[in-house]
């Protein structure tokens, strides 16, 4: 019994503190085997204890002697294999460490980028600067608590989104998934977007400029921004190639939808431009007198309108998503949702990939 298991387990009485691999390495060393990988630390650590143990073993029981004989006459290729596994484990450990360090480096770069953005936002923002701690780490805590809550919830929303997309991808790739199951995914996905719009509506009440400038999004996403979020007509253009094959009726309906979307966007954009002018004019009224409260007060009243605009834009996004879902079959809608989700994932990744790209040393 002992013989067969001796290679696996260490008799606790004798060498309980050593792992099996250590034992084998030690035996390799004991046998004068020079195939040890010098860079593997665990082997080196075991060495100092080698002499003591070997003295003990010579006084060991018959059972143990048998075991040791077994070890000593073990075919060298098994020992070699064990050593190779050691090296492999060590190599993997080094790779993991390297990956971890790289991740730390890119996080550091992201942190620097975020600090810069926060600095800019603080300068441009509506918050009274004197109330804020200068340290960027405490910025999130001392800013509007409604916004801090929103950012936290948005982080959770993104995580949930990633999870849903992974599940949806698996479901679509499996041949067993039926329409009933896909429908659940589609409805869940649409509801998830609705949740986001509700969150934004609440946040708009506390700080509408924050919403309007997309401060919670990555800089890559902000490049494609339109009134607090994605542009619905853009969404259709992204999805269309991934929905084929389409029936003629579907093609017609989607074409009409694209046109309606564009018209609604144009109308909202023009309304926004107007609000922009009105707001600017309200703030610029009667400059040079030193007193700003009446003008700023009047401007603040208009911010309600701004919040409603963001709400209308989100409503347009929601209506567009729902109309698309009405036009398509369940399977098409599922594919569309997956494509859309991945598109946004790529946009989110764009900024962090850019900021963590290897730079040429100057």
């Amino acid at each position: 019994m002992m013989n067969s298991t001796s290679t696996q387990f260490v008799p606790s009485r004798r060498m309980g503190i050593y792992e099996p691999i250590h034992q084998m390495s030690m035996w390799g060393d004991f046998k004068g085997n020079n195939c040890l990988d010098a860079s593997t630390p665990m082997i080196l650590e075991v060495d100092p204890k080698l002499d003591n143990q070997s003295e003990d073993t010579s006084h060991g029981t018959v059972g143990h002697s048998n075991k040791y004989d077994q070890e000593a006459s073990k075919p060298p290729d098994k020992v070699l294999r064990r050593l190779a596994q050691n090296r492999e484990a060590a190599r993997k450990s080094r790779l993991r460490k390297k990956a971890y360090v790289q991740q730390l480096e890119s996080s550091k770069l992201r942190l620097i980028q975020l600090e810069q953005e926060l600095g800019r936002a603080r300068q441009q923002g509506m918050y009274t600067g004197s109330a804020l701690d200068a340290s960027p780490l405490s910025y999130a805590g001392s800013m509007n608590p409604g916004i801090a809550t929103f950012e936290l919830e948005y982080g959770h929303w993104v995580e949930e989104q990633d999870r849903q997309l992974a599940d949806l991808r698996n479901a679509l790739q499996s041949t067993e998934t039926g329409d009933v199951e896909l429908r659940i995914f589609v409805d869940g996905g649409l509801r998830h977007y609705c949740d986001l719009f509700k969150m934004k509506a609440t946040a708009a009440k506390t700080d509408v400029f924050y919403l309007m400038s997309g401060m919670w999004k990555t800089s890559g996403e902000r490049f494609f921004f339109w009134i607090g979020g994605f542009r619905p007509s853009e969404l259709l253009k992204v999805l269309l190639p991934h929905l084929e094959p389409l029936t003629e009726q579907q093609r017609l309906d989607l074409g009409n939808l694209a046109q309606s979307c564009q018209q609604a966007e144009d109308a909202l954009s023009q309304g926004m431009d107007r609000l922009h002018q009105i707001l600017g004019a309200a703030i610029a009224k009667q400059l040079g007198e030193g007193n700003y409260l009446p003008q700023v007060g009047a401007a603040i009243e208009k911010l309600d309108d701004l919040a409603r605009f963001v709400g209308q834009a989100d409503h347009l996004r929601q209506e567009t998503l729902q109309q698309i879902s009405r036009i398509l079959t369940t399977r098409q809608a599922a594919r569309g949702l997956l494509a859309l989700g991945e598109y946004f994932q790529r946009l989110r990744a764009l900024s962090s990939l850019w900021s963590s790209r290897p730079r040429e040393s100057s």
């Binding site: 309606s260 018209q263 609604a264 109308a267 309304g271 309108d305 209308q312 409503h315 209506e319 009405r326």
Partner: protein, 131 residues
């Protein structure tokens, strides 16, 4: 392009006013909105300078509709709200859009119907469209 009626122009005392208040129904000098919305296919009530109203008008114009616009200001807001509340059963939010004599809704409803394709049939029903 569109008929933007100034509220005061609708008062019976001014020349060219088209709305006649029925006796005893409203305060003297105010316009009968019930008749107004019944007589006009599309009526938009909005605060002057409201940007959402601007969006509503753009959307309707895009369909070839010339809505009757009633400017709501500090002077008439109370009266307008009263009358519309009686017509609709609840205080309306501005901008308020009436199609075919009935309250259609605000910007949100108009936009929703525009996207879902329901707007055009409703406009056609109310004879707001010529095609």
């Amino acid at each position: 392009m569109q008929k933007a009626l100034h509220y005061r122009n609708l008062l019976p005392s001014s020349a060219g006013g088209s709305a006649i208040p029925p006796p005893g129904d409203n305060q003297s000098g105010s316009v009968n909105l019930r008749k107004l919305v019944a007589d006009n296919a599309v009526v938009v009530f909005a605060r002057k300078g409201c940007c959402m109203c601007h969006v509503v008008k753009l959307l309707l114009n895009g369909h070839g509709v010339n809505p009757t616009v009633v400017d709501v200001d500090d002077h008439n807001e109370g009266d307008v709200t009263d009358q519309l509340s009686r017509i609709v059963g609840a205080a309306p939010q501005f901008p308020a859009v009436f199609v075919g004599g009935e309250l259609f809704g605000g910007l949100e409803q108009v936009m929703g119907a525009h996207i879902s394709g329901e707007l055009v049939p409703r406009l056609r029903e109310a004879r707001a469209l010529w095609l």
